[in-house]
Amino acid sequence: MDNNYYDPADLRKFGKISDWSPELGEKFFDYYNSVFKEGALSAREKSLIALAVAHVVKCPYCIDAYTKDGLQKGITKEEMMEAVHAGAAIESGATLVHGVQMMNKYNKLSM
């Protein structure tokens, strides 16, 4: 084992999670692959959503994977960056909306 938590080469071993639990692994990958197929949303739109979420959950593997996936789908860097901002906006909004809770508590406790 290497002396670091993340190794880019581990991404291509993702499928190995099935080795220790084949049934659940298979169910997960079936589900995963179905999710990203063309549906009511295009595969292109889903790739951008995945990229945004990858940043929000701060998964370096997912960021590598969905940057590459976007390139493969002909998605431009401007579209990718806008997707990252969409994720970042929700994430910062989620923090800031708690400011209302802070304000409520402040007001309740204050004379």
Binding site: A43, K68, G74
Partner: protein, 351 residues
């Protein structure tokens, strides 16, 4: 952006043996990835054998007005390998008798061969069903003497297949050079003006998409829709079909992979995407490639790696279709490029 070929600068990878060594090194030498031969053996497809010949692809020379970063030919203005009229005549003799229904001219920029128009006139009269010229588009705008190429192509019923890596300027110019996108757009408009690419027009205009980097092409149909929408909305341009072609790790693309630290990951990506169904449709099973000096290869990629056909008939002057049909196809690790995902050929996906 490079302005010279690997050959002109004396780069190691201009030597075919160095490229083949590299393609057998790293994860292939360490046993982490299977050799292509072993992989197709597992799926019961070794040795790879030709089916009936459908396409005769002739490379009329490596000279080109562009020096594209991904070029597997290592083409450029400094390349002097040009097919002579004598070799063209030998090709014509074959074209008249071949069972192939498609003739496919490529290069370099085939239009830069001084005998190109003579050859097109003769070959178009030889009764071939589908006559393709692979045009890089910018050649049409490069010099006044090429401005009438759209009319010339139309007159001889040529099927034009052109490269355009993306429908945005940035990505196109990064791969193919500054100004290439605008020049390509002008060339496409001039082809549309004479009737190429219009719905139901017999003048076929297809585009080729190569990824501009170390990644595989996306779904051909989805990309075609994106290209059609963007080119129509932004420029009023029409075309028929988009072919997505995987970049093979050869020549300048191989050099790029190594220099950018992407070689190993790219080979893993190709092997991971291996599709046995694509193997049965790869173009070397229905195509023969002829080089500028008349030698025969299983495909244009093998030509660039110097891997001649494994047959007694090695030259167009010795051409015997039945004898060539008995050969085994020569393979190496670059072949993973044609068997990844939906497969890849000069006609786009195969599976």
């Amino acid at each position: 952006m490079a302005t010279k070929s690997l050959k002109a600068v004396g780069h190691d990878l201009a030597q075919t043996n160095k490229q083949l060594e590299l393609l057998a090194s790293g994860p292939f030498a360490q046993g982490d990835l299977p050799l292509f031969k072993d992989k197709i053996t597992q799926s019961g497809q070794f040795p790879l054998r030709p089916k009936s010949l459908e396409i005769l692809q002739i490379n009329v020379g490596y000279m080109c007005n562009q020096v594209c970063a991904h070029c597997h030919v290592d083409a450029g203005p400094d390349r002097k390998e040009i097919m002579t009229r004598e070799t063209m005549q030998q090709c014509l003799d074959v074209i008249k008798t071949t069972g192939a229904h498609t003739l496919d001219l490529t290069g370099g920029a085939p239009e830069m061969n001084p005998d190109f128009r003579w050859f097109v006139e003769k070959a178009s009269a030889a009764g071939i069903k589908d006559f393709i010229v692979r045009s890089n588009l910018t050649i049409i705008r490069a010099n006044k003497k090429y401005h009438d190429l759209p009319e010339f192509f139309a007159k001889h019923g040529v099927h034009v297949v052109s490269s355009l890596p993306h429908y945005t300027q940035g990505k196109t110019d990064k791969q193919r050079g500054d100004g290439v996108f605008n020049s390509s757009i002008e060339a496409l408009k001039s082809l549309n003006r004479v009737g190429y690419g219009k719905p139901d027009s017999p003048l076929k205009l297809d585009l080729v998409y190569n990824p501009s980097g170390a990644f595989l092409p996306g779904d051909q149909k989805a990309m075609e829709q994106d290209f059609k929408k963007a080119l129509w909305e932004d420029f009023g341009i029409e075309f028929h079909t988009l072919f997505t072609i995987t970049n093979l790790p050869i020549a300048r693309f191989l050099d790029y992979l190594v220099a950018s630290g992407n070689f190993e990951d790219y080979m893993y990506a190709l092997v991971d995407a291996y599709n046995p169904a694509a193997v049965s449709g790869v173009m070397c099973t229905n195509t023969l490639s002829v080089s500028w000096d008349g030698y025969l290869y299983d495909c244009d990629f093998n030509q660039m790696l110097g891997l001649k056909v494994a047959s007694k008939a090695k030259h167009i002057s010795q051409y015997q279709e039945d004898l060539l049909a008995e050969r085994d196809i020569v393979i190496s690790q670059h072949c993973y490029g044609c068997t990844a995902g939906a497969g890849s050929s000069c006609q786009g996906t195969v599976a």
